[in-house]
Every structure is written in C-alpha cells, then in structure tokens.
C-alpha cells in the first residue's frame, strides 16, 4: 500500500484526478493546475496547521462571550428576560420539552466543545508527528466536519423568533450580542476543520500499523 505522494502523484482536491508530478514540482511557482478542472494542485493543503489553529483560537476566544452574553431577550408586558445559550436549554427542560432540550443541548453545547477539543487534539498530535490511532483520529475529524453546521440551530431559531414575535407591549424578542459571538464560533470552527488536511494524520503513521486493518 502506497500513497499518492510516495508515487509522485497528486490527487486533485476537486475532481479526484490523479496527476503525475515531479518530486519537486509541488509547492514551487508556477502553480500546477489540474488538467481536468483547473484547480491548483497541492500534495497537502497549504499552511493547513497554522490556518486551522488561527481560526480555532479565534473561536475559543469568542466561545466565552457566546456563552455568557444573552443571545436574545424576550420582553412581555414590560418585563424582559434575557436568555443565554444554556438558559435556553434549561427553559426547554422546565417546559418538559425533553427531546427538543436534548437536541439544543447537543447542537449548541456539546458540538462546539467537541469540535474545539477534537480539532486541538488532532492538530497537536500531527505537530508531534504522532502515528497513534490514525484511523480513529481520521474518524473523529470526519465527525467534526459533519456535525459542525448543526450548531447553527440556535441562530436560526432566533431568526424565526425575532421575525415573528413583534407584538409591541404584549411580546417582543430582540437579538443579543451573544448570538453574534456564537454564530462566529460556529463559522470559525467550520473553517478551521475545512482548512485542516486529514492526510497529515497519516503522513506520520507507522507503516506496520497500517497493515493491521
């Protein structure tokens, strides 16, 4: 079993075409383009570790206001009650909406933490050139890519509520700055996962470990 890189081949990111390149062709100007779809060819995504870290660190910083500042305020008969991400989940629990509460808890609390922790772990393991459980780390990476967008549920819920509940004194719902920070966390972690190149996980995996499966 050999990789494309070991054979001086590169697979196009977009159309998967396999193109033969000289060992030193990649990474040097002028850029090599895919003959089929004209995407720039890379053995590995450029600067992926630095880019992933930068976006992830920005997300971690914004994670704090995202969870402490209210994401919205419901005002009914002059009485305002601000909601953070967590208090929104608690209100759903108090209303006995267990499945919905579980859904929001998972999408808004579990998924962002999972993504931040797992992307950090994968980045660190790649930087230490670890070959440890490459298959599991790839699986985790795949999972973070798939679940990331589901954290937007709360943002869309707010979008529905603010557009619908505009009854003056009786009830109004206003957006809070926490929603901006939360949306930024979701978008930044999505980009962080996209910029990472999972092939880096395998570049340091031991060849004998590969044969086990």
């Amino acid at each position: 079993m050999t990789t494309a890189r070991e054979n001086s081949l590169v697979g196009c990111h977009h159309c998967n075409l396999i193109v033969a390149v000289g060992p030193d062709d990649i990474g040097l100007a002028p850029k090599i383009m895919c003959p089929r779809c004209s995407s720039v060819l890379h053995q590995r995504k450029p600067n992926s570790i630095a880019r992933s870290w930068a976006l992830l660190i920005a997300a971690v910083i914004l994670y704090i206001p995202a969870n402490t500042i209210p994401i919205m305020t419901v005002t009914s008969f002059g009485e305002g009650s601000p909601d953070t991400i967590m208090s929104g989940v608690i209100h759903l629990l108090e209303a006995d909406q267990i499945p919905i509460a579980a859904l929001v808890f998972f999408a808004s609390i579990v998924v962002p933490i999972f993504k931040i922790v797992m992307i950090s772990m994968i980045l660190i393991s790649v930087q230490f050139k670890s070959g440890w459980r490459a298959k599991d780390r790839t699986l985790i990476y795949r999972l973070t890519e798939v679940v990331g967008r589901w954290s937007m549920i709360d943002i869309f819920m707010i979008s529905i509520l603010v557009g619908l509940v505009k009854l003056g004194n009786i009830a109004t719902i206003e957006v809070g700055f926490g929603a901006v920070a939360f949306a930024a966390v979701v978008v930044l972690t999505m980009f962080s996962a996209t910029y990472f190149d999972p092939r880096l996980i395998w570049d340091h995996a031991q060849s004998n470990e590969l044969m086990e499966d």
Binding site: I18, G88, I100, R142, W150, I153, I160, K166, L167, A183
Partner: protein, 205 residues
Amino acid sequence: MNIHADLIACHECDLLHQIVALDSGSQANCIRCGAKLYKEIRNSLDRTLSLTVTGLILFLLANFYPLLTFEMQGRSQQNNLISGVLEFFSSGFWGLGILVFLVSIIFPLIYLLGMAYVLVPLRMGHKPWKMISVFKVVDYLRPWAMIEVYMLGIIVAIVKLSDFATITPGIALFSFAGLFVVIAAANASLDPRIVWRSVDIDGEY
C-alpha cells in the same frame, strides 16, 4: 502532464487505489481509513436533475408564502423566511443578518440553480459554458447551504413559542420541509463523476 485515469487517491489519507467497476448502489471505501471514495448510483443524472427541479419549485413556494402565524392575546403576526433577516438588519445586527441570509436563502438557491445549470445541458448531451467553474462553486457551497439545520431551528422556535401562544404553520413551512428532503436526496443521488467524465483532457482521457 501525465494523468492516471485508473487510479484514485483517498482524499482523507492519500492512499492510492485502483478504480474498479461497482454494481449500482454499492460504494467504494478506502481500505486504510474507511473514507468514501466513490459510489455507483443508478440513473444519477436523471434522479438528481428531477430532484433539483423539484427543489427549485419548493424553494419559490418556501420564500413567497407565509411561514408561521403567531397569535397571542387576540393579536397575530405572520412571518416569511426572510423576516428574521430583515429584523436582524433593522436592529443593527448586519453580520448575523448577512450570515443567515446567505446560508438559508442565497446558498441553497445558488446550489439548486448551479446544479440545474450543469445537469440540464448534460442531460441533453452537451456541456454548458463554464461548467467546471459552476460545478466547483456548487460543490464548495454544499456544507454552507443549511436547509436541514434551518428546519430544526424552525421546530425549536415553534416548541419555544407553543407554550404561551398559538402557532399556525403556513404553506412555506411545508414547502421548506419538502425542500429539506429534496436537497438531502439530491445530495445523495449525485455522482460527481458524471460531470468529470464529460470533460476531455486534451485527448488524453
């Protein structure tokens, strides 16, 4: 430039594989990391195309009809898909407004139009102008067209309000739910190789 039409590299671990013909409905996975390499889908072009056209119709219904009606203390209020975005704008939350507008309306629309733009001519046996660029945009936008996530957002909003108000679903809600199913099905039925195969590479392929 030398190409190898008989090989594929896993996009997650770079392992090289020989491309083998599959029975329809079966999928080739990477033998090392398990990632999906490609899938043989029967009538991929026809299926995806019909789902895309259905999606465009549902998209129009979802955007032009009322989504929900909210009633409380004898007063009522209706919204559309775009209402939340406009409310974000009028309360000064430009970034959120633009983000929600893009991922819930613009990107799904570009996705559907782009697919139709590529697939209708292919179905009729020719290649549209700039096909590859359009298809790459469609491919890139896929995770950012968040119809399914928005659908769940609507459900959570309904649950939150149903305690103290009466919520009536409008035509747009059902259209949107349909759109969610249709887009998921279109994603699952598209075999991107039908597009790539239609491209000649300077007679080498």
